[in-house]
């Protein structure tokens, strides 16, 4: 009879190598990689954009027709200049301020509406649910981008309108998730307990149910931020974004498109910046989602 020889100092036959190979460890490593990579990509875009006014950059609208379409890495112009001799880096960073502001505000508004409408529908049921559910259905059937273009044509392409329009397009996403979460939460014993203790429905919802669904709903909001940035740039590309003199990412690209064969950087670089930011936000959202899912053991 032999027994498995234990290494001195380790009370278990499970080696560090086994632990490193375990599914849980690998999942954790994957989630952590996504979080870190996402944070780095996002920071690479967000920090320069936030500091754009402080950095020693040329004026984003300062034209210099003698220095048109300089390639990247030219003197004074790290990413080159556009068809009117404006500094591309400066335009991308200042354009990013518009895009990010629109994105963050839109997501804040849609998150708020979505959580309120979704939790009301899930918690109270009845006519509240009927009304909200019709809206959620209609949103699936509607030609989204077309409606956005229509509303922008109606109210004019100001930053406020575009923010509201994107928020209107996105709240059903949050509402749908919140509603399904609240439907589950509503049946839990603590809700019955709160009612027995004499709280009204609205109080139970606001004080006890919503705090329990805000975190998972918040994750979706993060993924919506990525979508909002993409939507804003698509609107700008189609000419329905914030108007000149604002440089927006979508319009820098649509303006540069005419020069793509001779000046590749005018389209390629702004697109890469958008992609980098959106990849970053998506990876963070994904990593967080992987982590919560694992914690629940599903």
């Amino acid at each position: 009879m032999t027994t498995t020889a234990l290494k001195p100092g380790r009370p278990s036959a499970v080696t560090a190598r086994d632990l490193a190979r375990a599914t849980a460890t690998r999942q954790q490593r994957g989630a952590r990689f996504k979080l870190w990579a996402g944070a780095v990509c996002t920071a690479l875009v967000v920090l320069p954009v936030a500091l754009a006014s402080l950095l020693p950059l040329p004026d984003p609208d300062g034209q210099d027709l003698s220095r048109r379409r300089l390639p990247p890495l030219s003197a004074d112009h790290l990413l080159g200049t556009d068809q009117l001799g404006r500094d591309l880096l400066s335009r991308i960073l200042h354009g990013g301020q518009v895009s990010l502001t629109v994105g963050v505000l839109a997501v804040a508004v849609s998150g708020l509406i979505g959580i309120v409408a979704g939790s009301a529908a899930g918690f109270f049921g009845g006519w509240a649910d009927a009304v909200v559910s019709r809206f959620l259905e209609a949103q699936l059937a509607l030609p989204l981008l077309m409606m956005l273009l229509l509303v922008v044509a109606l109210f004019g392409p100001s930053v406020t309108v575009i923010t509201v329009v994107i928020a209107c397009a996105q709240w059903p996403e949050v509402a749908r998730l919140t509603r399904s979460l609240v439907l589950v939460e509503r049946e839990k014993p603590y809700v019955a307990a709160a009612r027995v203790l004499g709280l009204r429905g609205r109080q139970v919802l606001a004080r006890h149910v919503i705090p329990n669904v805000v975190r998972p709903a918040g994750l979706v909001v993060l993924l919506l931020l990525a979508q909002a940035v993409l939507l804003e740039s698509a609107l700008s590309y189609l000419g329905a974004g914030p108007q000149r003199p604002f440089a927006t990412w979508g319009r820098i690209i649509s303006d540069g498109q005419a020069y793509i064969t001779t000046s590749w950087w005018l389209v390629t670089l702004p697109g890469l910046v958008i992609a980098l930011l959106v990849v970053g936000v998506n990876l963070i959202g994904d990593g967080l989602r992987d982590r919560t899912r694992r914690r629940k053991g599903a």
Binding site: F33, K34, L140, L142
Partner: protein, 309 residues
């Protein structure tokens, strides 16, 4: 079953009707005069007034709405101002192109994303799976107009192997299809992977494995079959969304579908054309959803239509 169908169709009609009313009001509240877009620049205000009367735009909004509803129930969606042809016919002329692009994009997405998702589920949580996951997320994160322009530049300008725009031959379908498919890959492959992981961990999989079913058969016959309903739902929703016109991609590639038609109709304030587009696309999208719902019992005998889930 019949009651379920009737209720679903009733709901769908209501949705289409509400959508149409919203669009009717929105276009008429929007600034911009269709008469001015239609008339020559030299037209006098009397000319403009005459054109408005001809389009039926001179009455109060409620009268216009009444006429609009009356025409709608007789199947008349009005005459497009800019094409000077029945708006419904103009939209239907473009529809085949949009449907072609939607079908080919969904087909390509399915052919790539489903095997990819199965592969990811079988190699769950390895470095290679993580790499594939990150790559699909990157595809989803690129703005579609940018992907389109880059593909155009590379494959139509620098290495001219494919036509740049329009639909002159079937090869013109390649670039728009790829652009749309890149966006959808992440969504579908992740869905397949998630559903498959659950199915592969289920007790029936363990039983099948203990009876000697091969890993390949486990993945494709047991795992994928049990993931069919959510997969079909996702593909159906994506397909419906694509039918609504891939506006941006159609504009980039000069694709003669509904999406580029809408952009033009909005620019010229072509009210009947905008309304006709919304009716046709919303109806089609809802129809696709309905067909998907009806197909569930075929894929999963446990599903009974009309019963609470």
């Amino acid at each position: 079953m019949a009651a379920y169908l009737a209720r679903r169709i009733g709901q769908s009609l209501l949705t289409v009707f509400l959508t149409l009313t919203t669009v009717f009001l929105l276009v008429r509240l929007a600034p911009g005069d269709p008469a001015a877009a239609y008339a020559p620049p030299t037209a006098s205000s009397a000319d403009l007034q005459r054109i408005r009367a001809q389009f039926g735009l001179d009455g109060p909004l409620i009268t216009q709405y009444g006429i609009f509803l009356r025409d709608l129930f007789t199947g008349d969606l009005g005459t497009s101002y800019s094409f000077r042809a029945p708006a419904f016919d103009v939209v239907m002329d473009r529809m085949p192109y949009t449907i072609t692009l939607a079908v080919s994009a969904i087909a390509v997405t399915t052919v790539i994303a489903v095997p990819l998702g199965v592969w990811m589920a079988r190699r769950a949580d390895t470095k290679r799976e993580l790499g594939a996951n990150v790559l699909t997320i990157a595809g989803q994160s690129m703005p579609d107009f940018w992907t389109g322009v880059m593909l155009l530049t590379v494959f139509a300008v620098l290495v001219p192997v494919l036509p740049a725009s329009g639909f002159t031959s079937w090869s013109g379908l390649v670039l728009p299809t790829v652009t749309v498919a890149i966006l959808q890959l992440a969504l579908v492959s992740r869905l397949v992977r998630r559903e498959m992981t659950v199915a592969l961990a289920a007790p029936y999989t363990t039983v099948a494995r203990s009876r000697g079913v091969s890993e390949r058969a486990l993945a494709w016959r047991y795992g994928l079959r049990n993931s069919a309903v959510p997969l079909l739902t996702a593909l159906g929703t994506r397909f419906a969304a694509l039918l609504n016109g891939v506006v941006v991609v159609e504009v980039v590639f000069g694709w003669p579908g509904v999406g580029s038609l809408v952009v033009r109709a909005l620019a010229t304030r072509d009210y009947p054309l905008i309304q006709a587009t919304v009716v046709v696309t919303a109806t089609l999208a809802i129809l696709v959803q309905l067909i998907v719902d009806l197909a569930y019992p075929l894929l999963d005998p446990r599903v009974r239509l009309g019963k609470a889930a």
